[in-house]
């Protein structure tokens, strides 16, 4: 299981725009590099990150070889209600990781 970290504010006012930061441990091998023997290193990247807020999808990103290793992705959303945010990363070679965070909206 890959190491993933998400940073979601524990508490927010209703309607407030909150910043969410996510980080996944992954080499993000681009498929353009070669070994010292000149062989192409096959691509191995995370393909998508999906974030749902109480079951509703709020953010989705298709990742790309141009995203650096250990992809850090920061985005925003409106805090509507208390609940959980689920994050799911999927990638090449069957890579899959999930993480969740709870938020209290006052």
């Amino acid at each position: 299981m890959a190491r993933v970290v998400v940073n979601v504010p524990a508490e927010a006012k209703k309607g407030e725009v909150i910043e969410i930061r996510t980080l996944a441990g992954h080499p993000m091998e681009t498929g353009f590099r070669r070994t010292q023997l000149g062989e192409l290193i096959p691509r191995d990247i995370i393909r998508t990150l999906v974030c749902t807020y109480n079951g509703v999808e709020i953010f989705r990103a298709d990742l790309h070889p141009a995203v650096a290793a250990n992809p850090l992705i920061t985005f925003h959303t409106v805090a509507t209600e208390s609940g959980t945010l689920e994050f799911r990363w999927t990638g090449d070679n069957g890579f899959s990781a999930t993480q969740s965070a709870t938020i209290k909206v006052v």
Partner: protein, 151 residues
Amino acid sequence: MKRRAFLLLGVAGVAHAQLPPNIQEIRKQALDEAIRKVVGEAQVRPGRVKIDVPPLIDNGNTVPLAVEVESPMTQADHVKAVHTFPERNPQPSVPPVPLGPRAGKARVATRAGIADTGAVTPIAQMSDGSFWSESVRVIVTLSACLEDGLI
């Protein structure tokens, strides 16, 4: 064949093997094509988009990159997607990041790999169908993607 002519031929041959003479043209075409694919016939206007990227990059493998778009992010007027085009990357078109009114604020940040000195062009697609962009020139000293650097 005279010796001098033969040598010149050799030099020209090596240079030709390394890169096509119109490489600038080819790169520009690839970038234009990638952008055209996204925007279609629409006009891309400068403004509203702000990209936050260091102008001098020591290591192109990990470049902090943030794109922010001026928009109220309401149902009627919001940013639909943010596209980014790093000019000299092997694949100059990065898949768009879709956004919507739910985001509250049109700002996304990540760390990217940038292959070489050139322009980085974010393009924002608005809900009314218009496109806005900004272009920033960055200098990369250590190239990403290819250890030896691009030609």
